[in-house]
């Protein structure tokens, strides 16, 4: 039933089939590549989205990609499909939130917001789960590595983009997403004590987050 110029309904059908069969979310470009040239993918997606509005299955945008998923209000029925989620500790959740709202941010910045040093196991769990990724290095002395969220984070929490993080606009407006506390404002920060001008207390402490030292050695 290959037609030379499929009409928009046919395009919609094909997009529907592709999204349905896909193992993961698809971007508009990925969909377009499988359609005849010039097909209106955006239009088809909008039409589908409307068509599935309020149904048991809905079309959703996550991390700039599209996927079908069951309606959130029906979650109570899905007992058999539910997977026991990996429980994130409070510390891990706060760390994830700090990274999500401040990205890219360094480990020292995460610690400064929480006022405690990041315990071993917190960041690596997030990295391992694929929620967080290493982003790059800050162009400051010590060139600390920065962290950001990965697409999987958006996919897991049904976010179409980072702009959709709850409350992000309000927090930004209130200046709460600013990482730099004005100079001269010094609150003691135990998590950072010992980094610069102190020697480690014990020889076994190498796994404390002492980026600075290693970087100095590298330079």
């Amino acid at each position: 039933m290959i037609q030379f110029a499929p009409d928009h309904l046919e395009i919609e059908r094909r997009v529907e089939a592709l999204l349905f069969a896909a193992a993961g979310p698809l971007s508009a470009a990925e969909i377009a590549r499988r359609l005849p040239e010039g097909a209106d993918v955006g239009g088809a997606i909008s039409a589908l989205r409307e068509r599935y509005q309020g149904r048991g299955v809905e079309l959703e945008c996550v991390a700039d990609r599209w996927r079908f998923r069951t309606a959130p209000d029906l979650s109570f029925m899905m007992t058999e499909e539910r997977e026991e989620p990996r429980r994130l500790s409070r510390a891990a959740l706060e760390t994830l939130a700090i990274i999500a709202y401040h990205q890219p941010c360094t480990r020292a910045e995460i610690e400064s917001v929480r006022g405690v040093s990041l315990s071993k196991g917190t960041l690596d769990l997030l990295l391992e789960m694929g929620f967080v990724r290493l982003k790059g290095r800050r162009r400051t002395p010590g060139r600390p590595v920065t962290y950001a969220t990965a697409d999987k984070f958006l996919e897991h929490f049904s976010l179409s983009s980072l702009y959709d993080l709850p409350g992000v606009a309000e927090m930004k407006a209130a200046g709460l997403l600013d990482l730099s506390i004005p100079v001269g404002f010094e609150v003691p920060d135990p998590s950072r004590a010992g980094d610069d001008d102190e020697t480690p207390l014990m020889p076994g402490e190498e796994d404390s987050p002492e980026f600075a030292q290693d970087f100095v050695a590298e330079d």
């Binding site: 592709l18 989620p85 429980r87 409070r90 939130a97 040093s117 315990s119 196991g121 391992e128 990965a150």
Partner: protein
């Protein structure tokens, strides 16, 4: 984002996970001084913008006092914060002197603290907001059975820096394990030595003697293991049996092995 949050945050359920954590002193679930301060600030029941830092300082000092009274080994963090808050409070209460020196005015320091508390509070609320979003495989579900034949690959390559690092470290570890380690060399009781040992012993082996009494006994930590002494002795013994100088018998599988010298002229016993 939910605006209604409890004045007393639920700290009891906080962070039971990180068991291997050595840094955090668990003061009934408080993770650090800032978390305690935030919880205390909430009890003032005012907008965090209008927080009274002097009152907060008093509350915190009382908290630390109480914690110490109850025999908590207080982490240095808590004491540093206590000292700093006491200092800040005194500066806030004292009339400002003419020469301020190089230090920031106490009001600014107080504002910085208030800012950090508001920030931490914002992140706590963000955690709640994020968690209340529909979560994949908890609230929403994607297709349970993508048609097996149809593979629609994504155009992104799935490899993160973390995976790259992990792959690198795993291999370096394996490389390390492969490396020759003389410290772990297993010393064996040489077959030649076992043969000599048995030949020396042979004239005295007139009775059936258990193998473990024939094999040399291990002395001290050095040298071959007892298992190696036994194995090599048995091996050498079998050679002697083949040469017709010795006999071996065993009543059953895993039973004790007995060795005996074979007298000259004695016919070979055929054991069924």
């Amino acid at each position: 984002m939910t605006d209604a949050f409890q004045p007393n945050l639920d700290f009891a359920a906080v962070d039971q996970a990180d068991g291997r954590d050595a840094f955090v002193v668990d003061l009934e679930g408080y993770e650090g001084p800032l978390h305690v301060l935030l919880a205390l600030a909430r009890t003032q029941k005012v907008d965090l913008l209008k927080l009274s830092i002097t009152r907060l300082a008093e509350q915190y000092l009382a908290f630390v006092h109480e914690a110490r009274r109850r025999n908590f080994a207080l982490a240095a963090d808590y004491l540093v914060m206590a000292a700093w808050l006491a200092y800040l409070k005194s500066r806030l209460l004292l009339p400002r002197t003419e020469k301020a020196g190089e230090e920031a005015p106490a009001e600014e320091m107080a504002a910085a603290l208030a800012f950090r508390l508001r920030k931490l509070e914002a992140m706590r609320r963000a955690v709640e907001a994020i968690q209340s979003r529909p979560q994949l495989k908890r609230d929403v579900f994607t297709r349970g059975d993508p048609e097996a034949l149809v593979v629609i690959p994504s155009d992104r390559i799935e490899a993160s820096l973390y995976e790259l690092m992990a792959a690198y470290v795993t291999q370096r570890r394996r490389e390390e394990q492969r490396r020759y380690n003389p410290g772990q060399r297993v010393e064996a009781f040489a077959l030649e030595a076992a043969r000599e040992w048995l030949r020396d012993l042979l004239p005295r082996l007139e009775q059936w003697t258990p193998l473990n009494r024939v094999a040399p006994a291990k002395h001290g930590a050095e040298g071959p293991s007892q298992a190696s002494f036994t194995a090599s002795t048995l091996s050498a013994g079998l050679e002697l049996v083949k040469e017709g100088a010795m006999e071996v018998k065993q009543a059953g599988t895993f039973a004790e092995l007995y060795l005996k010298r074979r007298s000259v002229g004695q016919p070979l016993e055929l054991v069924p």
